[in-house]
């Protein structure tokens, strides 16, 4: 039983962490928390299933096309729901615009895809459903790969450093001649890719299901809130911890009470440490 809790807890935790990173990637580029993060995860699974099972593309090509589509959704998010309200960040209109856009994505998926969970293709065919099955370790591999990739991007490449620069100080970066808008769009595309990877890697586990979007939105946000806004390491630790806690609660106290337990712990921790457990420094307000 323990093996099973660990396997599914780590797997689902890795998915939450990836969605957390999706939130963070969008946030660092624009100071905007977007409700579309979870929907990107959902689309990763749905589009993967669409391209590979329904349209019959080979898995590798299906994967790439899925990521391209998710990146496009990310860019559209930036253009439609983020850029127009960036000027009024203090009015928090982005909460509404991204919520609206996320709802639209979810509804279109529900109507055009299905309101029932649909199968996701078996990618490698390793494992027999037990704790060592690919469906449990694929999300972990994806999480590790994304973490490594982002680390490389941010530390070793020029584009990555430019990302960091605009996240540190938007105005200064613009003053330095960095193409702030293009970088922001690129960041949203990157967020789309990360979300898409999360959904694709967890497709076998979570299935291609429209309601995963709202679920991932909330549970992917928890690690961000706990780990501190914009802090990817915090998101990974928070995500894995959440996954393990949630699965353990599922198996010990049962479904109804586990979601209550997760929520109570979340609220209590957040009220005690509004900046998150690995919180950032205080912000200048005046």
């Amino acid at each position: 039983m323990l093996a099973s809790i660990l396997a599914s807890g780590l797997a689902i935790g890795a998915v939450y962490a990836l969605i957390g990173i999706t939130y963070n990637t969008m946030y660092t580029a624009s100071r905007v928390m977007s409700f579309t993060a979870g929907q990107l995860g959902m689309l990763g699974g749905v589009l993967g299933s669409l391209f590979i099972l329904r349209l019959g593309l080979p898995a590798a090509i299906g994967f790439v096309v899925t990521l391209i589509a998710c990146a496009a959704i990310g860019v559209v998010t930036e253009i439609v729901a983020v850029r127009p309200v960036l000027g009024k960040l203090d009015q928090h209109l982005y909460v509404l615009s991204t919520l609206a856009f996320a709802l639209m994505i979810q509804q279109v998926t529900a109507i055009e895809w299905s309101t029932e969970p649909q199968p996701f293709p078996r990618l490698l065919g390793i494992g027999n459903g037990g704790p060592w099955d690919e469906k449990f370790w694929l999300p972990l591999v994806a999480c590790a790969a994304v973490t490594g990739g982002l680390e490389f991007l941010y530390r070793r490449t020029l584009v990555g450093r430019a990302f960091l620069a605009i996240s540190e100080d938007n105005f200064a970066a613009r003053a330095l001649g960095l193409p702030e808008r293009n970088l922001r769009m690129a960041s949203y595309a990157l967020a789309g890719v990360v979300g898409g990877i999360a959904g694709f890697a967890s497709g076998e586990l979570l299935l291609a299901f429209f309601a995963n979007g709202a679920m991932l939105n909330f549970y992917g946000f928890v690690p961000v809130a706990l780990g501190g806004l914009g802090n990817n390491r915090g998101a990974i630790i928070g995500g894995i911890a959440l996954g393990l806690f949630q699965q353990a609660a599922n198996f010990t106290v049962g479904g109804v009470f586990s979601s209550v337990a997760v929520f109570v712990v979340f609220i209590v921790v957040l009220l005690a440490a509004p900046q998150g457990l690995f919180g950032s420094s205080r912000a200048r307000r005046v």
Binding site: K88, A100, F101, L103, L229, V260, I267, L270, R284, V286
Partner: protein
């Protein structure tokens, strides 16, 4: 009175509706009335206070279940319907505060998420607590006694509730509480300086909106005749929320129309029902992007009339005597050894500063020398790491920002902090928020004390506007003013506190030479009334003209201090800063 006209039309039409004989439209109208009971309260939190509580269906659920469970007798003896409705209101008020509490500590997005979480959790509890709530199978809604047990009877009851809620929320909206809520929404930093306590205000509003939402829930249960957890969909939350945004933030009429439209529209668009959530979402997006002001903005004809082009600001300092009538401050603001750093950089590095009553104290220095930061420390936005800030015997270092207003310390901001959608007069009235005496409950019902408050605040604000020379613009939306006018408006707002000290952060920035001269005269006269002035400024002429004392800062330390002539002669200052 004229502003009541649209409400009379809406409720007049609503009152004759049942006589058309259509039970169907009566039902839809009943639904709209019930939703409005909820939305009217929520409007104070969302539309006025700017708190994005998107999961408010949670309170509808709670109210519906509380009323139904009590009437059914699943928890102790069975209650009569109306007391149960009242109990639902009480439970809702408490829950409203619990759901709202995170708003006091968390960022907007976090708060939005937690309200969503509450909505989910409440449904889960309703499902799990089978013995009481009937679990998935639900339970019957309360049946009301005659004459409210028929379709039209129940409708008129709901309509009465709706009309009452309209009246009381409009009263709040036009009270200091309503203005303070908008201040928290649009100019939170200024609200603190004015002395508005965000926690106290928000808790009150969440209490109120929780109660109305839960009462709406009780009525909803009666209307539905039977409730199950799946009646309380996220779509309903979205509907309530969008009704407010379509209507326009900071309006009562707009959200009322929004609620009616959103309740009735789907009945005409039944074939599109599969796409209804999508259309709601699309509507929300369009409103946010295209008409952030909503219906209220579209109906605001008065503010489309062009303003006079060549208007001049002519302050009348001679009227100051009527505002600053308290004589000289008895104490001194006293900074001792203040140190404050941001991320390793010392913004203030051991500063001593005394601001005396009856004096204009200039604070100058190059960019980044710590001028505004010093002001912010005095205002309480930052707590010094070392050293103390005192007012006479009172140690200010550990008091919250909003306590300053009560001690007579007022301020203006480098970037004017205003409520763009409110009139200039209202913006100034906000400055006197802490001088109100009526409680929230008194304001709800416009009891005499509330009306006295309003009369006094209005008179004082008008006077303050005359002092700074903006009385002709009193009724104009603040965001239509020119930059220089906003600076004078902020001074008028600060004057509402009858300040013993006033902190001015670059009041001359963006002003013409004439205006600077008039400003200087005004400041001088303020100090002559006994009020101590701290003036942060870049215009050296203004500083040297009106200051009694000048402190020069560099890298967070005092470079020089003395009379203007001392400073003018100070070698280092001249070479490093004045450049003359």
């Amino acid at each position: 009175m004229r502003s009541m006209f649209p409400f009379l039309i809406v409720f007049g039409l609503a009152a004759v509706l049942p006589f058309t004989g259509s039970d169907y439209w009566t039902l839809i109208a009943t639904r709209a009335a019930i939703y409005w009971v909820l939305v009217s309260g929520l409007n104070l939190a969302v539309g006025f206070g700017g708190q994005l509580a998107i999961g408010y269906v949670a309170l509808l659920t709670l109210g519906a279940y509380t009323a139904s469970v009590l009437v059914a007798g699943n928890l102790g003896p069975a209650w009569p319907a109306f007391p149960a409705l009242g109990a639902a209101g009480v439970v809702g008020a408490v829950a409203g505060v619990i759901i709202g509490l995170p708003a006091l500590r968390l960022r907007t997005f976090y708060f939005a998420m937690t309200t969503l979480g509450f909505a989910t959790i409440l449904t889960q509890v309703a499902l799990a607590w089978q013995g009481v709530t009937g679990g998935g199978i639900g339970l019957p809604g309360p049946t009301l006694p005659a004459p409210f047990d028929t379709g039209p009877g129940f409708y008129f009851l709901c309509l009465a509730f709706a009309a009452f809620c309209t009246w009381i929320t409009a009263n709040v909206a036009h009270s200091r509480f309503g203005r303070a809520l908008v201040a928290i929404r649009d100019a939170e930093v200024a609200a603190e300086a004015i002395g508005i306590s965000k926690p106290a205000l928000l808790v009150t509003v969440f209490l109120f909106s929780g109660a109305t939402a839960a009462i709406a829930g009780g009525l909803f249960a009666t209307l539905q005749s039977y409730i199950t957890p799946d009646a309380f969909t996220f779509d309903l939350s979205v509907l309530f929320f969008i009704a407010i945004l379509i209507g326009g933030r900071g309006s009562i009429l707009g959200p009322l129309l929004g609620t009616i439209i959103l309740t009735v529209l789907p009945e005409f668009a039944a074939p599109l029902v599969a796409w209804s959530t999508f259309l709601y979402a699309a509507l929300l997006l369009i409103i946010v992007l295209v008409i952030p002001g909503g219906i209220a903005d579209l109906l605001d004809f008065a503010n489309r009339r062009p303003l006079e082009r060549n208007r001049a600001i002519i302050p009348r300092p001679e009227l100051l005597a009527e505002i600053l009538d308290h004589g000289a401050a008895r104490a001194t603001i006293d900074l001792r050894g203040v140190v404050l750093s941001f991320g390793g950089v010392r913004a203030i590095d051991g500063l001593d500063l005394q601001i005396e009553p009856r004096q204009v104290h200039g604070l100058i220095g190059p960019n980044g020398s710590g001028k505004t930061t010093t002001l912010n420390v005095i205002s309480g936005y930052y707590r010094p790491e070392h050293g103390t800030v005192g007012l006479g015997d009172v140690d200010l270092s550990h008091q919250p920002t909003q306590a300053r207003a009560g001690l007579g310390i007022a301020r203006t901001f480098q970037t004017p902090r205003l409520i763009g959608e409110a009139s200039v007069l209202q913006n100034v009235m906000i400055g006197g928020s802490i001088n109100g005496t009526a409680s929230f409950a008194e304001s709800l019902l416009t009891l005499p004390r509330h009306r006295r408050d309003e009369r006094r605040l209005r008179a004082q604000a008008t006077l303050a506007l005359r002092v700074v020379g903006l009385e002709s613009l009193a009724a104009v939306r603040a965001d239509r003013l020119q930059h220089s006018e906003l600076r004078f408006m902020e001074i008028a707002r600060a004057l509402m506190l009858h300040p013993t000290f006033i902190l001015l952060d670059e009041p001359a920035a963006g002003l013409s030479t004439d205006e600077i001269k008039r400003l200087g005269e005004l400041i001088k006269r303020i100090s002559q009334r006994g009020t101590g002035v701290l003036l942060v400024e870049h215009h050296a002429d203004l500083i040297f003209d009106i200051c009694d004392t000048v402190t020069v800062l560099n890298l967070g330390r005092e470079l020089a201090a003395g009379t203007p002539s001392d400073i003018r002669a100070h070698k280092e200052v001249v070479s490093a800063y004045l450049g003359a």
